[in-house]
């Protein structure tokens, strides 16, 4: 069948299996020459596609145990983050780290070692994982953690499914008093101002900025920085305090057809401008918002990826090390606004420190933006690759659908070690994705 990631590019013909039992999964892994695990397909490109054998984990979606003292949840790897929140937020628990969509699986979050708006404080997803169980090429189940089979643990988190199939994991949730977030929106006239807001907001639990890519000159990097804190019960009004988790978020809108690609940008830039000028008093504004609108604004529009039209879209996401962030981001934003190639809004976020063998984040700033796929944007993205590399930057594999092997090697010297490790451990033949082939890792 035809399979693609969230960006609907590339679309590949692949054989997909969805085993129903641990036994069937292990037998399949043992007897299949090479394969890749697939969670909910929310990575943008071809990370979760293997043409000859893509192994879908949707039947491994059971929760196994929860410890209400420590907040530790043990679950199968195909469990959706959305289901974890549905089950546990009413009991006062929320994910410690969450990406910008809740329609991802536990296995996908571990394999991409996802980050959230709190990376500067709480690190990547790895921080909340206690152990994982992974099926190796021989169909054996191996438990690994910070204390047990440590090498496999370190390579698997952020390893994009290329070390084996994650079967189960134990993660910790954070205790929260309510399902509400206090959001502070701070307008910043340009990139320098935005970066200084990030520097000053190191104590904020969550922080992220929207950048208007049309700004130039003095307005280059014009943005809205949004900080967030979990609201304490005592700070809710009486009515809300009686049902602190009842945020009533039944909002669903779906995009039925392929939209012409300009519509999302028109829409989002208008929303940005409205907000920016609404905040035009140039002082921070505060708002109490529900968790779903705060963390997952796009999830309300089911199938919004169709809004970019038939050809699909790609996301460019890089991180530039702290010392070079300002210069690198300036150059990237200049190139983007000069090209006027259809991405008008970008997301900027300051990461904290991170030590890992192959995960994406590093101490610095990450910039992410979507482009509809066409010749111009593909060329532009290659140009952006070069700028990021020249400032010591690297790229997020969960978003990549088009980078070349040379680009990866030039941007990330860890990739050679990763490839060597795969070669030495006989993993290279067993676990492959269209992406790992393209990137030669």
């Amino acid at each position: 069948m035809k399979v693609s990631g969230w960006g609907r590019y590339p679309v590949l013909e692949a054989t997909v299996h969805a085993p129903r039992s641990e036994h069937a999964l292990r037998e399949m892994i043992k007897s299949t020459p090479n394969l890749i695990a697939r969670g909910n397909g929310r990575s943008y490109g071809d990370s979760a596609i293997n043409r000859s054998a893509t192994i879908q984990l949707r039947h491994f979606n059971r929760m196994i145990a929860f410890d209400s003292k420590t907040g530790q949840l043990v679950a199968e790897s195909g469990v959706l983050l959305a289901d974890i929140i549905t089950a546990f937020l009413p009991r006062g628990w929320f994910p410690i780290v969450t990406p910008g969509t809740k329609f991802v699986t536990l296995g996908g979050m571990i394999a991409a070692d996802v980050h959230g708006k709190n990376h500067h404080k709480d690190g990547s997803f790895e921080k909340c994982v206690d152990w994982i169980e992974i099926v190796d090429a021989n169909g054996e189940v191996i438990r690994c953690s910070r204390h047990e089979n440590v090498a496999l643990w370190e390579w698997t988190i952020g390893g994009m499914g290329l070390t084996g199939v994650i079967l189960r994991a134990a993660i910790r949730l954070r205790s929260v008093e309510t399902g509400w977030i206090k959001q502070t929106t701070i307008p910043a006239q340009n990139l320098v101002a935005a970066m200084s807001v990030f520097e000053k907001s190191q104590d904020a639990t969550y922080s992220v900025a929207w950048i208007d890519c049309l700004g130039t000159g003095e307005q280059l990097g014009r943005s809205l920085v949004m900080l967030g804190e979990h609201v304490k019960n005592a700070n809710l009004g009486q009515k809300q305090a009686n049902a602190p988790f009842d945020t009533n978020t039944e909002r669903k809108l779906s995009i039925p057809l392929d939209f012409p690609s300009w519509s999302l940008n028109r829409f989002s830039i208008r929303a940005f401008n409205a907000l920016y000028y609404w905040n035009g008093l140039r002082k921070p504004s505060e708002q109490i918002v529900d968790w779903d609108s705060y963390f997952y604004p796009l999830d309300a529009i089911l199938g919004w990826n169709r809004i970019y039209g038939r050809k699909g879209f790609a996301q460019f996401q890089c991180v530039i090390p702290l010392e070079q962030s300002r210069a690198g981001l300036t150059e990237l934003l200049e190139a983007i606004s000069k090209a006027g190639a259809g991405s008008f809004l970008a997301v900027l976020k300051k990461f904290g420190k991170q030590e890992s063998l192959f995960s994406f984040p590093m101490d610095g700033y990450t910039l992410a933006l979507d482009f509809p796929i066409n010749k111009t944007t593909l060329q532009l993205m290659e140009h952006l690759d070069g700028i990021a590399i020249s400032h010591g930057g690297r790229f997020y594999l969960a978003k990549d659908s088009r980078m070349t092997a040379q680009t990866l090697r030039a941007s990330d010297n860890r990739s050679a070690d990763f490839a060597t490790m795969r070669e030495d451990s006989d993993l290279r033949n067993a676990f492959q994705s269209a992406q790992s082939e393209r990137l030669d890792i």
Binding site: A18, R62, M63, A65, T86
Partner: protein, 245 residues
Amino acid sequence: MTKAPVLILGARSDIGKAIAHKFATLGHPIQLAARAVETLEPEKVDIELRHQIAVTLHEFDALAPGTHESFISELPALPCIAVSAIGFMGDQPVNEKNPAIAIEVMRSNFEGPANILGALANHFVVRGSGTLVGISSVAGERGRATNYIYGSAKAGFTAFLSGLRNRLTKLDVHVVTVLPGFVATQMTEGMDLPARLTAQPSEVADAIALAVEKKQNVIYVRPIWRFIMLIIRNIPEQIFKRMKI
């Protein structure tokens, strides 16, 4: 206030599991009944964890009618709602040639589910309340060359449910007939089904919960199927017998 339990017969099916989750979400304790029911232990744990209700497991074989009364009497409580997701489609060409399998298909889709729902009905009548839900199929609306052995058994089951409803309405027991079109489950895995006509198990579960609440009689899950079947039922036999459908 604790709610009364919901019994799911054929609980290992994807549709059965989705129904269990749905009623658990609504706060009902769940009774899962299936053959080799111990294999449903992970489902029990999962449903209990997610929805904070109790789940019990009960060994049940629809093809052993002699055990049905004792099965009911051994349930920890008489359910307020009982759903049959039991079914067995087999493979039409095999069903045509192998009488033993054909008979198993007929019994699994008609005799077994009808017998257990009939037995439960008598208990519900004594209590004076309850809802019985039978998952039959649009395949029972008209026999087609490609699956008439399965379809004819479903037709029998649909007629049974209709008669049961007719008998029980005045006794305050409600009967829901579910005629799902295509559903993406283990039964249809690998078949090339048109996406617009194919429901997810969770849609079937939502539709059933709504039908129970609103006391609907016959539901098709995706409304378009009501229309499709109207047409299919009305094609003159003279034409129908030559059609490839």
